[in-house]
């Protein structure tokens, strides 16, 4: 009970974060700490085959040798990895044993009503209602996927695999083994390595050859338990000539301590296929005194394997205490296309170090980067991007535009563009601007009767318009609302 009172108190103080509620339900949470036996226990809990356990153990052994990275322009104390729990799942009443995971897809397990309620409060409907929706959803609560809507219909009618990562390991082991760790190997970086060791749940998507996925697929991540890490692993594969729009949303309750989120996303795009990957990230950003919030250390990378393949990342980042995230494209196939459209807004004491990497390998590969950073309060907002043109990338082209907007005088905006061009036929363009939401603009709006908060929201939305136009419509609306909420109190 004591915890609940604290949460309510915190919520009172944090009226600006409306997703900050906490769900009280029976959960099974591992004791804090990370050892090889914890890795084995996670694997056992999920009833995983030997190859998956081996993947985890190899990663864990390597992780022990790595130092925690601190090169990002974000300050945080070294984390105590023994102070987190690496597995937490709501107990489903009728199957509280290990067989649950393997039985998962065959007979849909009952969804904990409290968990279903939590998702409904976030506007995500599971169960029968979810089957009627215009969008398919994989709902992930702490370490496990609790429900995947439309999964069966998509599979039967279109051959589309849309399920939780754990289910995929059980039911599609060959596919998972073929792609797992091929884009982000376990030794890629510290957090990706940690993820490979303790991966909780994530989403697995496979679009067969020539299929254009009839509905957008989405995953909603909810971190609920305190001091729990979420380490989802998501794999999206678009086979030749297929296409899919995939969307992820995230939120968490208000907590007074850091929560760790270290996800890995791997996207594989085969010839003539197209993947549009959109994220609306609204993790709890922490309070004004820098207490709590989500540490969002995420590795997202896709490979455009085949000719004329296309991968497009669109993100609206408004949450997290610290964001460390660089959704990237490896443009291997000739004439493949990579895009990165980003809006990152920081307020209060948030720190964001985000951007992209575009690695041009194939001939005539093309990439576009449009990044809009908005800093308010006492926050720091960094764009960090790499455009690398390899000697093989004849006629490659890149266009980069980085715009920063400052609101108030106590925040910072920084741009670190890295360019490596090893082929003289490449064309690379970079444009950058920094602007203030000027007193003049605010006064102009005020003189026309518009309240300051509405004016800021309008000016910032105007600034982000190019990127929001790339988001699926309903998410664009969501992102605009989020910006308005996140900007509250940004001008003193």
């Amino acid at each position: 009970m004591q915890t609940q009172v604290e949460i309510v108190d915190l919520l009172g103080a944090q009226s600006t974060y409306k997703e900050g509620f906490f769900t009280k339900t029976a959960v099974e949470t591992f004791a804090k700490g990370l050892t090889e036996s914890v890795v084995r226990a996670i694997s056992a809990k999920k009833n995983e085959p030997q190859w998956m356990l081996d993947f985890r153990l190899a990663a864990y052994a390597h992780w022990l040798t790595l130092p925690e990275p601190h090169w990002a322009k974000a300050e945080y104390q070294p984390l105590d990895y023994q102070d987190y729990s690496y597995y937490s799942a709501p107990q489903c009443g009728n199957c509280a044993n290990e067989a649950c995971a393997s039985a998962g897809a065959v007979s849909e397990p009952e969804i904990d009503p409290e968990v279903a309620k939590a998702f409904a409060a976030l506007g995500i409907h599971l169960g029968a209602e979810g089957e009627e929706a215009e969008i398919a959803v994989d709902a992930i609560f702490d370490s496990v996927s609790v429900s995947t809507t439309k999964s069966r219909a998509l599979l039967e009618k279109h051959g589309v695999i849309f399920c939780s990562f754990s289910e995929a390991v059980q039911h599609y082991p060959a596919l998972v083994q073929q792609y797992l760790g091929t884009v982000v190997p376990h030794h890629d970086n510290f957090f990706a390595c940690l993820n490979a060791a303790v991966a909780s749940d994530g989403t697995f998507v496979y679009i067969p050859k020539g299929v254009s996925c009839p509905v957008p697929l989405s995953t909603y991540f909810r971190i609920n338990e305190a001091k729990t890490g979420q380490f989802e692993r998501t794999i999206v594969i678009a086979d030749e000539g297929s296409s899919v729009s995939y969307i992820e949303g995230c939120s968490a309750p208000v907590r007074d301590s850091y929560q760790l989120h270290a996800a890995v996303v791997e996207v594989i795009v085969h010839a003539d296929a197209e993947v549009k990957y959109s994220t609306v990230q609204n993790w709890y950003p922490g309070d004004d005194n820098c207490e709590g919030g989500i540490l969002n250390f995420v590795t997202k990378r896709g490979v455009c394997k085949g000719a004329r393949s296309k991968l497009s990342w669109t993100q609206a980042e408004t949450g997290s205490a610290i964001t460390w995230k660089y959704p990237s494209c490896i443009l291997e196939g000739d004439d493949s296309v990579g895009e990165f459209y980003s809006v990152a807004l920081t307020n209060r004491r948030q720190q964001a170090d985000t951007g992209t990497k575009m690695i041009h390998i194939g001939k005539r590969t093309k990439s576009t980067i449009i990044s809009k950073g908005i800093s308010a309060g006492k926050s720091e907002n960094v764009y960090r991007g790499l455009v690398k043109i390899l000697p093989t990338a004849e006629g490659a082209r890149n266009f980069t535009q980085c715009d920063s907007m400052l609101i108030g005088k106590q925040c910072g905006a920084h741009t670190f563009p890295y360019l490596e061009v090893q082929n003289a036929t490449a064309q690379v363009e970079h444009e950058a601007t920094t602007s203030n939401v000027g007193e003049d603009q605010l006064f102009y709006c005020a003189q026309r009767g518009i309240r300051e908060e509405d004016a800021i929201s309008m000016i910032v939305n105007g600034f982000c318009k190019e990127v929001f136009q790339k988001l699926p419509l309903e998410f664009a609306v969501e992102a605009e609302k989020l910006l308005a909420i996140s900007l509250e109190g940004s001008v003193g």
């Binding site: 003189q447 009767g449 518009i450 309008m458």
Partner: protein, 249 residues
Amino acid sequence: MLLQVENLQATVADKEVLRGLTLNIKAGEVHAIMGPNGAGKSSLASVLAGREDYDVTGGSAVFQGEDLLEMDPEARAQAGLFLAFQYPVEIPGVSNKLFLQTALNAVRAAKGLPALDMFEFSQFVQEKMSLLGMRQEFLTRDVNVGFSGGEKKRNDMLQMALLEPSLCILDETDSGLDIDALKAVAQGVNAMRSPDRSFVLVTHYQRLLEYVAPDVIHILYQGRIVKSGGMELVAQIEEQGYDAIAAAA
């Protein structure tokens, strides 16, 4: 009395800009305020509209019976005080249509009127645009971005026509305009003249006054109004210059 300004004193960045200015405007009147550079013309417009960097150090201003100086800039706008800017501001990414609709609905909300939806707004704005002879593309362009000087001023006139204020202050709206743009501004003012709407034309030149006949002309000099009169003052300024008139006053 629509606006009563008594002995108004104000500073900006610790510099005295208004030094006891008195001005009374009745409903339906058009006042012109003329003066040399640095006399405090734009300061007067800014102080009345509530620009933050100006500190009022003394005096009073009562607008429609309310203490104007106690009101936020947006409250002043909502109450019917409109300022046409010397340099209208650009807002990239925000369409003029959205801006106009947001402003209009904010002012309507303050008056307790329901918001106009897209359709109603379109009709309303069309009327006003044809009144001012403006082209359609005005609505889809970003607020003042890439507008010529004349277009920006016309856009301000359109806002004025939409918001239907009771007091319109034109802060050197005529400066830097070619003759066609100047006529367009004058046309906007003349079309909106009515017994319950007043205008303050802050201007450097007499040119605008050839197209909009004011009821009263004031000469502003070193932060106060030193002389008021009719059109004959314009000729006097031409002949003698501001310094001589101020010295004689």
